[in-house]
Symmetry: C2
Subunit: 317 residues, 2 copies
């Protein structure tokens, strides 16, 4: 086990896999802070839904639904079935157990607690020793620009199944937001030993975090290495619309294309063995490169990748 | 089947039983309007809960939970179990299916729909042909006065299990409320053929309805008979704290005590065969009396009682 402190920036499923690897690889898990994107957050059925915070929380809590790829294990759907009969909106699925988190979070936010407070307390109640924090407590809402006009993120992502062509993104509220207190604290003083940008979608999972004023600047000024892991392997996204978006935005759908997106911010880039020929191109961007297996099919894969990233970060100091 | 139009004033379980009897006894069920007490309504977990509306709706919809005596049949509790693990408030039980109604109602109220609109639509979606309406659309909140101070109704009723001594009641907001449009319409023009005050708790189920300005006056001016059914049988309440409250308020815990409470408002009073000796005392209050079996154990009992009440009303014209 490696005794380091780490800040991981994460979106949903892909990012949470590596966050779990880091959680298991770091000797003292309280030295890990996972910062989740909140640009995906939305109000639905009067409830505050935070998909990325919840995916990270369920994954680190060991209760994520591995069959579905989202939500909780041991889930049931009586609420949703009944809501459908009552004429409610059913395009966004909410399991009976998952719903408890949304209802309780919404209630606590209404009493004036911050999203940071609620997120930290829920993680604690689920026995998670790492810290989980939103990127910011103020609402930030990702808007997907399409030729037919702007779409709220979950309408694009879930309702419309990522079918509309993407021409760009806006992060409403980001300019007025400030980093959450846990992130602010982690980037203050001596700072962490490393920052990992998880293999999440660069545009809709990582860029919203970087759009919060201060975060990008403080990562640049940090003494510790910032390392990103490619979500593109062999020209395809492991999960989700990353490849489709890159293509629609006129980018090369390659790991090198992702590296270029992060150029100027990161010190190290991790790409998959199948993309090893791209290493030279990425190094030409002024980054160090780690070539390894990034697929993370098993828990062992996740821990192994986390350990390699930590070892890589130690070479970069 | 009797072809009459009827307005029934109802609280929860006891009242809903007779409402169901009337629903089955009236030839054209669209001629029945069940007006539910909303003094029990409250906000819980950020949701608007309307216990009496829901009990009436589930009962007339044929989906009430007969084993529990509240809530829906085929209910599951995954939400509540998880909420408990997350540290949420669990003193008020909400089943997974029941929750769908609360979440959808809350959402629709937040968009500006009235409680009347939502209640009518939910009843319609559950296939109920009778009309169900709240007594008023404006919030009315029953406060139970006790020697230790006032208690919000559900805190008295569910959290504290009716243990505090009752010294009186207040219906916050009632003075500013107006009858719901369905009730207003039903009491206008020719009016209904009869009004039934169901065997609900007089203090916390019926009095909140009568506290809405205009309702009592209009019942008094109505050409049709107003008939109340005693919730006290043999000196005991069939269900709930009616007897305990009467005792604490210094009233006789008898059917005649209930009749005295409604004196000046009602034309007819229905008491159970076991209380037949009280008939003369009730007649002395200036009311006509129907003595019959009021226990309503089976559906047949409910329909039978409803038919007897309708026949009784025809004698009173």
């Amino acid at each position: 086990m490696t005794n380091v402190s780490c800040v991981a920036l994460s979106g949903g499923v892909g990012g949470a896999k590596l966050a779990l690897g880091l959680y298991k690889a770091i000797a003292d898990p309280t030295e890990l802070l996972v910062v989740a994107n909140t640009g995906d957050d939305f109000e639905h059925l009067g409830l505050r839904i935070c998909p990325d915070i919840d995916t990270v929380t369920y994954t680190l809590g060991g209760i994520s639904n591995l069959e579905l790829g989202w939500g909780r294990q041991d889930e049931s759907w009586a609420f949703m079935e009944t809501l459908s009969l009552l004429g409610g909106e059913t395009w966004f699925n909410l399991g009976d157990r998952d719903l408890a988190l949304h209802v309780e979070r919404t209630r606590r936010l209404q009493t004036g607690e911050t999203l940071s407070d609620v997120t930290a307390d829920m993680a604690n109640r689920l026995g998670i020793k790492a810290a989980i924090a939103p990127m910011a407590d103020r609402d930030v809402r990702t808007i997907v620009e399409t030729p037919e006009g702007p779409l709220a993120f979950q309408h694009y992502f879930v309702r419309d199944r990522c079918k509309p062509t993407v021409t760009g993104f806006r992060f409403n509220g980001a300019a007025e937001a400030t980093p959450s207190s846990a992130l602010d604290l982690a980037l203050s003083g001596v700072g962490p030993d490393l920052v990992v940008i998880c293999p999440s979608n660069p545009f809709i999972s990582v860029d919203p975090i970087l759009a919060v004023p201060g975060i990008r600047d403080r990562l640049l000024r940090l003494g510790a290495p910032v390392i990103a892991v490619s979500p593109i392997v062999g020209g395809k996204a492991i999960k989700g619309p990353t490849a489709k978006m890159m293509d629609e935005l006129g980018m090369d759908v390659t790991a090198a294309g992702v590296a270029r997106h992060y150029a100027g911010l990161i010190d190290g880039f991790v790409l998959d063995t199948v993309d090893k020929d791209a290493a030279a191109e990425v190094e030409d961007l002024g980054m160090n490169v780690l070539v390894t297996n990034t697929l993370m099919k098993s828990l062992d894969d996740r821990v192994m990748l986390a350990r390699e990233i930590i070892a890589f970060s130690e070479q970069l100091k």
